[in-house]
Structure formats: C-alpha cells, structure tokens
C-alpha cells in the first residue's frame, strides 16, 4: 500500500511544479521573442502587452492549455510524459487498488458464509426436528422432553429385537458417550427410544440397555405416544399396530443419532458413516459453540 500512497504525492508535486511553468509559458507566448524569459521594464511595449495579456490569459485558458503541450527540450518532454495521467505509477496504483478490492470482497464473502452456516441451526428456516413428548423410562417412571432440557442429548431410535444394526449402533453410542463424558462430564444424556412399544416394556428395555451402557435412558410408551415421537423426530418406522401375540416381526426404522441442544432443538444427525471418535468430536465441537 506504500506504493499507492507514494503515487498521489508525486502527482501532487508535479501539479505544484507545473504552476510556475504555466506562467513561464504564458510569458513566452506573450512575448514576440521566444528567448526573452520575462517582461522587462525597459521595453515598455512588451510590458504593456504583458499586463494586458495577463487578464486575457485567464479568460482564454483552454486555448492556452492546449499550447502547454509544446515542450522545448527533450527533458521537458520527458517530464511532461512522466506526469501524464497514464504513467506507469498510475498503472501500478490501479492494479494494486483493484487487487486490494478483490481481496477485500473475497474476504467479506467468506466471512458472511461462515456466519450463515453457524447460524443455520438457529432461528428461522431451521428444520423442525424433535419436540415435546411424554413417555416412560426404563425404570417405569414418567419421562418427558422437559427432563432432557439443560444439557445436550443424543437420541437414538431402535427396538430390542433388532437383528444387527441397532446392537452395533448402540455399542457405538456407548463408545461415543464415553468419549464425550471423558471431556465434558455430565454434559450429554444418551437416550434410546423404542419403535416397538408392544414388546419393549420398561423391564425389557432395562435389561437390554444394561448390556450396552448403564447410563443409557430407555424410553417407551403407548403405540400412539411412540408414533408421535417418531413423527416429531422425522423417524420412519414400520411397526405393525396390532400383532397377534406370539407372532414375530421386525421393525424397519431410521438409524440416525439425533444430537439435540440443551434447549431441545435439533443440532445435527450423526449416521453410520461416523466412527465413534468422529461423532464424539462433532458433539464436543457443538458443545464448545454453545458455551460461547
């Protein structure tokens, strides 16, 4: 930027220098002899014409300025050329200024983009996932969405008869929880909501979840209650409503971990593609953002 600042100074200096030269040129123009540098008092006629011309000079300025381009020496021609509007310094100033502006706009654009992403989960336009619910936990106690407020929660939907994916995912969830708990004790509640309320009563849930992690909260309820929760969390599930006792069935359901913030708002979905370490890192990063 020092270069671009230097350029106007030279421009200014050249402007200041050009003023006496203009006077000189005027005098030269007014005198019949080009060799005479000024109006001498011993020659009255030119002097008279000089003072007379001084007033007409200001009136006919454009005409005079055209004459200014006539240089007498090579050096003068050169200096005239250097101080012209299209000098290499002006070019440099132009290029540097343009580069600066481009850089500034790019920087601002990126900054706004970061800001937008950071605020995407808050306010208007955020996907509405999650919400109020009233269920029963694995100890048979009533458990509502209010019990999750105040800390982050990791919500997973499944069922105890799940053949392969849920047990794997629950092992992953236990590992994730341990990793988060290590860094931020007591900041996360792991929640398992069954999609199969007909078979998964609190007792069964308790026995099932104890195999994965003792801190896991198992939730169940009536078919209608579970249906509402699944709908609130945008979880697809295919539990048949009325199954004759003794008939086995499997439940198709979405397999995402839902990370919810302390206010019960959805933050991010963690899927099968995340390793427990990656998922824990994502969760901890969000927690850091919250404190800010």
């Amino acid at each position: 930027m020092s270069r671009s600042l230097a350029a106007p100074q030279t421009l200014l200096r050249s402007l200041l220098q050009s003023r006496p030269r203009t006077q000189q040129q005027c005098q030269r123009f007014l005198s019949t002899h080009s060799s005479s540098p000024s109006c001498r008092p011993r020659r009255p006629t030119p002097s008279q014409r000089c003072t007379d011309g001084q007033s007409t000079l200001n009136a006919n300025r454009p005409f005079l300025e055209q004459r200014r381009y006539k240089a007498k020496t090579v050096e003068e021609q050169k200096s005239r050329y250097r101080t012209g509007p299209f000098s290499w310094k002006a070019g440099l100033l132009f290029v540097v200024t343009s580069a600066g502006l481009v850089w500034y706009f790019e920087y601002e654009k990126q900054r706004m983009q970061r800001k937008r992403v950071a605020e995407a989960t808050k306010g208007v336009g955020r996907p509405k996932v999650g919400g109020e619910f009233q269920l029963v936990d694995h100890e048979g106690r009533p458990f509502s969405s209010r019990d999750l407020k105040g800390r982050y929660s990791l919500v997973y939907f499944g069922f105890t008869h799940c053949p392969d994916i849920c047990p794997e995912e629950l092992d992953k969830m236990a590992r994730m929880f341990d990793l988060v708990e290590e860094k931020a004790p007591g900041a996360l509640t792991p929640v398992f909501i069954t999609c199969d309320p007909a078979r998964d009563d609190p007792k069964i849930l308790k026995a099932y979840l104890a195999e994965f992690h003792e801190r896991l909260v198992g939730l169940t309820g009536t078919y209608e209650q579970i249906k509402d929760v699944c709908k609130a969390y945008r979880v697809y599930f295919s539990t048949p409503r009325d199954v004759p006792p003794g008939q086995d069935y499997l439940v198709d359901h979405s397999i995402y971990f839902y990370l919810m913030d302390p206010e019960g708002d959805f933050v991010e979905a963690l899927g099968r593609q995340h390793s427990p370490e990656q998922a824990a890192k994502v969760i901890l990063e969000h927690m850091k953002d919250w404190k800010r």
């Binding site: 995407a120 336009g125 996907p127 047990p167 099932y208 499997l250 969000h286």
Partner: protein, 121 residues
C-alpha cells in the same frame, strides 16, 4: 446363563426363536456366528439367494447342517431377514461395481451429512 437349568435354557432358546424374547448379547453373538457359518457355506456353493428357486435347492442340500444351526440360534424372523439381507447386499455390491466400471466417482460420506448446520468441512 449358568443358573438356568437345561429345561429353562431350552425354554429361553425357544422364546428367542419365536420372538417372544429379545436375545441378549451372547445370544446375538451365537446367532451371528451361526449366520456367518451359513453364509460361508453359501459362498462355497455360489449361492446368493437361499430363499427361492435353484439357490434354495442347493442350500437345502449342501448347507443343511449350517442351516439347522442358523435356525436354532436365531429368531425365525432374523433368519429370513439375514437371508434377504444377503441378497440385498449382493445387489448393492453389484450395482456399485457396475457404476464404478461406468466411471462413476465414489463420494466420501465421511464427516458431516447434508444437514444444514454441519460445520465441519
């Protein structure tokens, strides 16, 4: 399950098979091991679909013991599920191989999903 008598153990196994009781960790492990044994046998005989047609015939003939163990250790719903899963998995692999041959690029799904608000890049 040492404290269960043999009959209680049998009863429990039966309950798991019919789906009246959800299998615990050990039972799941047993089931998965039996499944893998059955899968290995199917691989040996080049069978993908053991539920219908020619595949079922070969499986019934060549993998009878493995199939018996599979059915004994897993809930019947799981047996069907795993048999179907094998077919689906095979089709998925075939499709991926075909797409890759056609020059499709594999997208890494590591990291954040396409959900708004994922901050990681």
């Amino acid at each position: 399950m040492g404290w269960f008598s043999t009959s209680a153990d049998e009863k429990r196994k039966e309950e798991v098979r019919t789906g009246a009781r959800a299998p615990d960790r050990t039972e799941r492990k047993q089931c998965w091991d039996a499944r893998d044994g059955f899968y290995r046998c199917l691989d040996k005989n080049n069978v993908v679909d053991s539920l219908t047609g020619e595949g079922k015939k070969i499986a019934d003939k060549q993998c009878a013991t493995e199939h018996k163990a599979f059915e004994e250790n897993c809930a019947s719903a799981w047996v069907t599920y795993f048999k179907r899963y094998r077919v689906a998995e095979h089709k998925k692999k075939e499709t991926l191989a075909r797409l890759e041959k056609e020059g499709a690029n594999r997208m890494a799904v590591e990291g954040p999903g396409d959900t708004p608000g994922s901050k990681k890049i």
